[in-house]
């Protein structure tokens, strides 16, 4: 059974951010095209794709959709007639997660929550963790966060030395905003990956300490969303 056939049979609508695709022939291609457009629009200059929590990985999404037909009957029943939100944090289909197409190809299960108001369902995916990839992402993200933090400090120092009415002030302010978004993205990826590792190995004190440090950084470097209205 193709993903499109499964979606049509179970009347499952797909959603990726604002793109909502009703079950029909070509639905998979349509949602993948929408994701490609969204990724292009969301890309943040100077931030590696694998460190950007806002981007969905089209290959992972394709593997995920292909695997839906193999879900347990009760899981399929829970998804029936609903809108499946591909950006759900629990699905981990983004570019910055340890989940790989290979893991998805081996099969997975979904934990489907009770329907919240609005009918959009955000399931959690149950599949083995790629600890090596999670460790690699956490390390890369931590290093990137430190570099972006230094960039923020440099820009703040320049801004402080520039008068508000100086023509150079607005561009500096805008550059500072972008640098803060990069820093926040990196810190988010660091925290998400190290927290997953720590959850998988609760006895590891070093991982627990690193998770705590990442959480503190996430709070200190908080930024609002990069997405909003279309």
């Amino acid at each position: 059974m193709t993903p499109d056939e499964y979606l049509s049979e179970q009347r499952i609508t797909l959603r990726a951010r604002k793109a909502i695709v009703a079950p029909a022939p070509g639905a998979t291609a349509e949602i993948l095209a929408a994701i490609a457009r969204q990724n292009q629009a969301l890309q943040l200059a100077g931030l590696e794709t694998q460190l950007d929590p806002y981007l969905l990985d089209p290959v992972k999404v394709e593997c995920f959709l292909a695997g839906l037909a193999r879900l347990a009957p009760e899981t399929t029943a829970a998804l029936q007639g609903r809108t499946l939100y591909l950006n759900a944090a629990g699905l981990r289909l983004g570019t910055a997660t340890d989940l790989t197409p290979e893991i998805l190809a081996q099969g997975f299960e979904l934990e489907v929550p009770l329907e919240p108001p609005g009918g959009t369902v955000q399931p959690a995916l149950k599949a083995p963790m790629d600890a090596g990839r999670a460790r690699e992402l956490a390390l890369l993200a931590q290093q990137a966060a430190a570099a972006f933090n230094a960039e923020v400090a440099r820009l703040e120092a320049r801004l402080a030395a520039t008068g508000e009415e100086d023509p150079g002030y607005p561009p500096l302010l805008h550059a500072l905003s972008a640098a803060k978004f990069r820093r926040h993205a990196a810190v988010t990826v660091w925290h998400e990956n190290v927290a997953r590792l720590a959850k998988a190995d609760p006895q590891d004190a070093a991982l627990a300490a690193e998770t705590s440090a990442a959480a503190q950084a996430l709070s200190a470097y908080w930024m609002p969303p990069r997405t909003g209205m279309p």
Binding site: R15, R17, K18, I20, P53, Y54, Y85, N87, A88, A89, G94, P116, P117, G118, T120, Q122, V152, E156, L159, A160, E164, E165, Y169, P170, L173, H174, L176, S177, A178, K180, F181, T188, H191, L218, S219, A220, Y221, W222, M223, P224, P225, R226, T227, G228, M229, P230
Partner: protein, 415 residues
């Protein structure tokens, strides 16, 4: 410059002067003009005479005069500070609101209606933020639309207010459409409360510490802004929200709902609003998706014109989304803000990282024309009210929401 959530003092939060007499009462200082100089002894409490007095001496002079009339027994005596709660022992039973429906109309009732009419006709915008020109118009319009029988229970509530400032809040609640019974309960709720309590409970923005309602999800700025708009119009709603959510300026960034959440009731309201099917006028608009603040990459926002317009009977305003450049210039947006916020109509702005980036709703609650001229802006993401000057709006250097957003990209135009 700090980046921490809730540590945005650098944004210029100006803690309000909460002395009631300075912030919440009409423009004319009590005692500014001696009664003799105004010839008060000869004045009668006719609407025309009171209007004339209001024009020269302000709302409070009118209210003082009314208290000197024989029917002034209905009005509790206030201390020298209009915001000071009145000695409750001064209350008389005559005209007590809600004394029972079907009562025979008394002379006191008729007097109360006359007095209320005079006060309502003479209302003028106060320089604080209790009531603006827009809401005064709604008070007057609703009052004129009532028949005498309907006016009596309302007038009882109005004239039973313990102070002029309390009365202004009751007028606000009246303007937003509440019944006499609701107004009476509200009047009792606020009786004798001081100015700090009123500021911190009867609005959802700009508390005495510069805080206000905060979004409980990563993308619920839209519905939070709408809640703030409603709170600006309706003090009864504000009080309800405060009572149900004592920590409404806080958020648990990981757990917005259920055990561990700061404001479960507020979160439930916000999820419902955020994920409500979009029915507004912006092409491509959809319902949002709720996610915890720390999982912002999983959430989605929504336009809020439909949510705002669902409150039209309460606010008296109908909003239309206008995108910068596509529908309107930045200068025109600023003009819309000045005109409306200046008359007490809050204006929602959409801000972002570029002129065509529609990331986040904030609410301009006031356009302060006294020096320093500035816009008071409530940011749902931080739960803080900050001020900005026109240059910052006009030159894309808003520096709001932790330094994330500098551009105004759209406006919800209530014009």
């Amino acid at each position: 410059m700090s980046d921490k959530v809730g540590d945005l003092q650098h944004d210029g939060v100006e803690k309000r002067d909460v002395r009631p007499a300075k912030t919440e009462v009409p423009a004319v200082t009590p005692g500014q003009l001696a009664p003799q100089a105004l010839g008060l002894q000869r004045l009668r409490t006719t609407p025309r005479a009171l209007l004339a007095l209001q024009g020269t001496a302000g709302n409070r002079a009118v209210m003082r005069l009314l208290r000197r009339t024989p029917a002034g027994a209905l009005v509790q005596r206030e201390g020298p500070d209009a915001g000071t709660p009145t000695d409750a022992t001064a209350t008389t039973d005559t005209g007590t609101p809600g004394a029972g429906t079907g009562e025979t109309t008394t002379e006191a009732d008729r007097t109360a209606v006359t007095q209320a009419t005079a006060i309502i006709d003479a209302l003028a915008p106060d320089p604080g933020r209790v009531i603006g020109a827009h809401q005064i118009g709604r008070v007057q319009s609703r009052w004129r639309g009532l028949n005498d029988e309907q006016k009596i229970p309302m007038a009882r509530v109005f004239m039973n207010a313990a102070s002029d400032v309390e009365r202004l809040y009751v007028f606000k609640a009246f303007a937003s459409g509440h019944t006499a019974e609701e107004l009476q309960a509200f009047g009792n709720d606020i009786r004798g409360r001081d100015g700090i309590w009123r500021v911190n409970n009867l609005m959802l923005t700009e508390s005495t510490t510069g805080t206000g309602i905060r979004q409980q999800f990563s993308h619920s700025c839209n519905i939070t802004m709408v809640e703030a708009v409603r709170g600006e119009a309706d003090p009864i709603y504000s009080l309800e929200v405060h009572r149900a959510n004592p920590n409404l300026s806080e958020v648990n960034p990981d757990v917005p709902e259920g055990t561990g959440a700061q404001n479960p009731e507020l979160a439930a309201r916000q999820r419902a609003g955020l994920e409500r099917t979009y029915t507004g006028g912006v092409g491509g608009g959809t319902a949002g998706v709720a996610a915890p603040v720390n999982q912002a990459s999983s959430g989605e926002g929504r336009w809020a014109d439909d949510l705002l317009n669902s409150l039209e009977s309460i606010t008296g305003s109908r909003y239309r989304t206008k995108k910068r450049d596509a529908d309107v210039t930045l200068a025109q947006i600023i003009s819309i803000v000045k005109t409306n916020a200046g008359s007490g109509v809050p204006v929602a702005l959409v801000i972002g990282t570029a002129a065509d980036n529609y990331a986040h709703y904030v609410l301009v609650t006031r356009y302060e024309t006294r020096e320093p001229v500035r816009f008071m802006i409530h940011d749902p993401a931080t739960g803080r009210t900050t001020s900005r000057v026109e240059n910052q709006l006009a030159n894309d250097r808003l520096n709001l929401t932790g330094g994330a957003y500098n551009f105004i990209s759209a406006v919800e135009d209530p014009s």
